[in-house]
Amino acid sequence: MKRAIVIAAALVFGGLLINAIVDLPSSPVDLRIAVADNMANSGVSHPVTAVLLNFRGYDTLLEIAVLLLALIGLMAAGPMLPPPPNQPADALLQKLARIATPPVIVVGGYLLWAGAFRPGGAFQAGAVLAAAMVLLHLSGLLSAWNAQLLPLARRVILVGGFVLFLCISVALLAAGSLLQYPPHQAGLLILLIESGLTLSLAAILAGLFLFLSRDNGGAP
């Protein structure tokens, strides 16, 4: 009964939604023009990066805060069960992971650098590096992280990118507004922010996995 009601309601809602979408006239504001007009002052040549790190950089700053706080929330939920007994890691898998890691780091670096003029940037780079860490963990070369005993260095890496971003944003307040880049230094500052973010995002994204992992991958 409940099922039938929910499905009927969903059908009505979906119908209304599609009808509203199809009927929609073209929008009166076109931000493509505004973006194109201001690209020269944005410090980068890829429009999505310009929006992400400059025009709407404040969204991105807050979004890193969301990621960071989700990681802390995950740690706050308390210790998970202890890992099961060690399993001997597969030698071939370890070998492959060792071979794969250096090129993955190079790809991450390329993505970071490419973000200025084509699709790429800190998130993509950070995600690739995090994937490498997960790979190393799964092949037994990197142990899981303990949320209750987090060394200072690791805490600093986790928050470093966000702190750098926050500090630059606040320093630019001197120019009048939060995150108001001087046009001729915008490119450099954005690259600096993205470099810091790449490392921290890699650590945060990997942490989301490594804090939860019950598999210590055969590492001591």
């Binding site: 429009p47 709407r56 979004e63 989700a70 990681l71």
Partner: protein, 101 residues
Amino acid sequence: MSSELLFAVVGALIFTLGVAGTVLVANLLRRILAFNLMGSGAFLVLVGLAQRGGESDPVPHAMVLTGIVVAVAATALALALLRKQHEMKDSEEELTEIDDG
């Protein structure tokens, strides 16, 4: 119907599917997937509607990238809580929620 509008319509369908899933699916892991469907549907509507002119608009692209990161964060937190709840369920037989006084 232009192909951009098609994206938006498919997004609307995916969103609706996700909403129905959050209500109907009892398994909490699948419910987390339903939330992700809702999010993906909304992202498709956002990007699809914005590029009706044919040329893509970078502003919704950036907003969707932000939204995806937020969704990743929420999903990770949900999974961690679910995992923790599951472990505690394992150690004690039945989970009783505190509903009221």
